[in-house]
Homo-oligomer: 116 residues x 2
DNA sequence: CAGTAGGTTCGATATTTATCGAAATATAGC
DNA sequence: GCTATATTTCGATAAATATCGAACCTACTG
């Protein structure tokens, strides 16, 4: 993917996250991990009607931020970790003007530890 | 800042980045570093009219992603690294279910090295 | 105190996005 | 096949956002 397409994708992904309900959904799925969560449970958790949530989930999935898998009548949604990483990498690309020590503390806080 | 306010801010910041011109501006400023760039030069670089760019810069500044400083007639814009970090941290918060090894490669790619 | 250059605000229009009920689709059980 | 459940698609309305010229500020310069 060249830089132009990466940018188009990133705008789409950021737009998908730039909405309260969708950001909540994404973060819940990030916390939930590979197990994921069922569409109905997500809608209930966020207290929005199923049709609205379906719309939001579709937006997140189109952006590549979540993936879905059907299991009989239920549909599991999960965060897409590789694309999440791509997005963060894209935003930080070429920061620090080649001097990593200039923003080393930017990365320092990005550990995967659970919050205290 | 509690989690609710953090979420409101994050939606705003992500929305600020979820637009082609603004994402370009932000990434240029990330690459440019502390020196920043003058408003007019940014507008010219992105090939948009000054009034449109002014609107976009104001959006980015309201979201805390860039800061501005006047130097006589010129206005310098810079990326706000601390808030950039806060945003990335917020997105990754509590990922991996407390098992950092599960997404260690998510961080692995987030070095500040210039692109090869 | 003009005149000029760099930026921003205003205002009006066009486009995109969010919302959610109703209807449609898919799967399972009887 | 009929019924119930889980979820999506449709459709229509309301709200937010992008765009850019014109007018307006602000700070230098002669």
């Amino acid at each position: 993917m060249d830089d132009l397409n990466a940018q188009v994708w990133a705008v789409d992904a950021l737009g998908a996250l730039a909405q309260e309900t969708r950001l909540s959904v994404f973060r819940i799925l990030v916390k939930t991990g590979p197990e994921g969560m069922i569409a109905g449970a997500i809608a209930e958790h966020c207290d929005v009607p199923p049709s609205t949530m379906s719309h939001h989930l579709a937006t997140l999935e189109r952006a590549g931020l979540v993936s879905s898998e059907r299991e009989s009548r239920l549909i599991h949604y999960r965060a897409d970790y590789p694309n999440m990483r791509r997005l963060l990498t894209f935003l930080m690309e070429d920061c620090c003007q080649g001097m990593p020590e200039m923003c080393s503390d930017l990365i320092a806080g990005l550990t995967c530890e659970p919050r205290a």
